[in-house]
Point group: C2
Chain length 294, copies 2
C-alpha cells in the first residue's frame, strides 16, 4: 500500500498508473505535478489525482512513492528540483523508455545513484498523449522491466514491483545496457521506421495522392508515427548509441534487400519473407521458450 | 448484372468479391477455380461459389466476367491457359498489386493486350489468406484503381467499374506506371520494412527475448509481415524497378537518421518527428485536397 504517491507528469503513463492503483485500492492520496495547468485540472476533474502542483519539490513532500513520468529530456531537471525535498524513506521510480540516461542523470544530480531510486520501464503505451488518453487497464498483463543497480535497496525494488503488480503488470528485472539494447530493437527502431516512412512520403510532391491510396496496412504500420515528437526526440538522444547502431544496420539490410529485388532473386526473397512470417506468427501466437510464463 | 463470374483464385480477395457481389444481388452464377481442392471445397461449403474446377480453361467457359485473383507470378500461366477459351464478349479483370507486369504478361500471351482486359487493383486486404479469411465487407468504401490502356474497350471498363461499385468500393482510374509508383510507396515499401524488421530481429541470437519484450506498437507495426510470402515475392519481382528505387532511398534516409541521432541533433530530430506526426494525423483524419470526395 502506497500512502502518498507523487506523480511527476500526469500524462498517458502517469495518469493510467494513478487510475489503475486507485482502482486496485493500492494507494491513499495521489498528488499530480506537471507544467500544463489545463492538463492538471483535467486530471483533477477526472478524479485521477487528489491534488496538484506545478512544482515537483512541493509534489514530493511527504510522498512515500515518487513516480517520474516525464520525457527523458526533463528527467534531470526534475531530479534537481526534488533533491533534498524527499522523505528519507521515499522510493523514486520512473517510466522512461531508456534506463542508462536516467541513471546517468541521477548520478549527475545526486553524486551517486540513490539506493532508493529504482529505474523502471512499463512496456505499454498508445500513440496518444495527455491524461485524457489515460485508462486504468493500460498495464494489464503488460511487462514492466526494472533495472536495479547493485546499490539499489531491495525493499525499494519490492515496493516498486508491488506497485506495478497492483496495476496488473508482469514485472521482470533486467540489466541496464541489455534493456536499452532490447528496446532499441523492439520499440525505438520501429518508431524510427514509421516516422521515417511517413516523413519520406510527406516530402514527395504528390504526397496527397500517395496518402489517398494508402490502405489499412499503412494505417497500422504508421500508427506509431503519430506518437509524441518531443518524447521520441528525447528517447533518440538518450539511447543514441544503441539506436543509431540498430538503425544503421537496418539501413544496410534495406540496401541489400533493394539489390536482391533489383536482381529479381526469387529464392532469396521467398526465404526472407517466409522467415519473417514464421517469426511474426509465432510472436502473435505468444510462443515463448520453456520455463517462461506467457 | 454479371451472369456468370469465373474467379480464378478463390482466396481472400476472390472470395470476398464473390461474397460481396452475391450479397448485392449483382451476380448470377459464380465458378471458382484454384489449385487447392481443400480450399475450393471450403469455398463451396461456405456458399461463396456455385461450382468449381481446378482448370482455368473450364472455369471461364460461358463466363461473361473473369476475375484473376492469383499471385502475380501465376498470372501469365493462367492467361495462357484461358486463351482461346473465352466467350467473345467476356471481360477479364484482375486484382494484382502491380499493373505493369500483368499488362506485360497479357501482351506476351495474346500478342497485344486484349481490348476486353481491364487491369485493376482493389486497395484492400488483410494479412490473412484463403477463402476462410474472406468477408463481404472487405471492399466497402475502399479504393479500387483501374488502369485501362488506350485500346481498352470503354464498355468493358464500365462493366468492371460497376462490379466493384456493387461490392461497395470507390473506383478511380490511373495511369499504369503511376499506379505502380504510388503503390511502391504506400504498400510495397511498408511491407518490405515490416518483413525486414522482423527478419533482422529473428536472426539475432537473443530473438526470443527481443520478441518477448515487444509492445503493442510492435504488433501493429509488424502485422503486415504475416502476409503471404509467395504473393510478396511476386510483387517484388513484378514491381522491381519502382520498389528497389524506393527501398534504396529509404535505406539512405535511415543511414542519415542514424547519423542525426549519433550527432544528437535535437532540433533536426524534432523537425522530422513533428513533420511525420502532422502528416500521419492528417492522413488519419482523412484530410484530402479540395474537390476530392472523401
Amino acid at each position: 500500500m502506497i500512502e502518498r504517491l507523487a506523480i511527476i507528469g500526469v500524462g498517458l503513463i502517469g495518469g493510467s498508473l494513478a487510475r489503475a492503483l486507485r482502482g486496485a485500492g493500492a494507494v491513499g492520496e495521489i498528488i499530480g505535478c506537471g507544467r500544463s495547468v489545463e492538463n492538471l485540472e483535467l486530471a483533477f476533474d477526472l478524479g485521477v489525482i487528489d491534488g496538484c502542483t506545478r512544482d515537483p519539490a512541493v509534489a514530493v513532500e511527504d510522498a512515500d512513492m515518487v513516480f517520474l513520468a516525464v520525457p527523458l529530456g526533463a528527467m534531470r531537471g526534475v531530479l534537481e528540483r526534488i533533491k533534498g525535498k524527499l522523505r528519507e524513506d521515499a522510493v523514486i521510480t520512473d517510466g522512461g523508455s531508456v534506463k542508462g540516461s536516467v541513471i546517468a542523470d541521477a548520478a549527475a544530480v545526486f553524486g551517486e545513484v540513490p539506493a532508493r531510486l529504482v529505474p523502471g520501464h512499463p512496456i505499454a503505451g498508445t500513440e496518444h498523449s495527455g491524461v485524457g488518453a489515460s485508462f486504468p487497464e493500460l498495464f494489464h498483463n503488460r511487462r514492466v522491466i526494472l533495472t536495479p543497480l547493485p546499490q539499489t535497496a531491495p525493499d525499494a525494488v519490492d515496493k516498486v514491483r508491488a506497485m506495478w503488480q497492483a496495476a496488473g503488470a508482469r514485472v521482470t528485472d533486467m540489466d541496464v545496457a541489455h534493456h536499452d539494447a532490447v528496446l532499441a530493437a523492439t520499440s525505438h527502431l520501429p518508431h524510427m521506421l514509421a516516422f521515417g516512412l511517413v516523413d519520406l512520403l510527406a516530402r514527395q510532391h504528390d504526397n496527397q495522392e500517395i496518402f489517398r491510396y494508402a490502405a489499412g496496412g499503412f494505417r497500422d504500420f504508421t500508427r506509431i508515427a503519430s506518437s509524441n515528437p518531443v518524447m521520441w526526440r528525447d528517447i533518440c538522444i538518450a539511447n543514441a548509441e544503441a539506436l543509431s547502431a540498430m538503425l544503421a544496420r537496418f539501413g544496410e539490410e534495406m540496401t541489400d534487400l533493394a539489390e536482391t529485388i533489383r536482381r529479381r532473386d526469387s529464392e532469396h526473397l521467398l526465404e526472407i519473407f517466409t522467415r519473417a512470417k514464421t517469426a511474426r506468427d509465432a510472436y502473435v501466437d505468444g510462443v515463448v521458450p520453456p520455463g517462461e510464463p506467457s
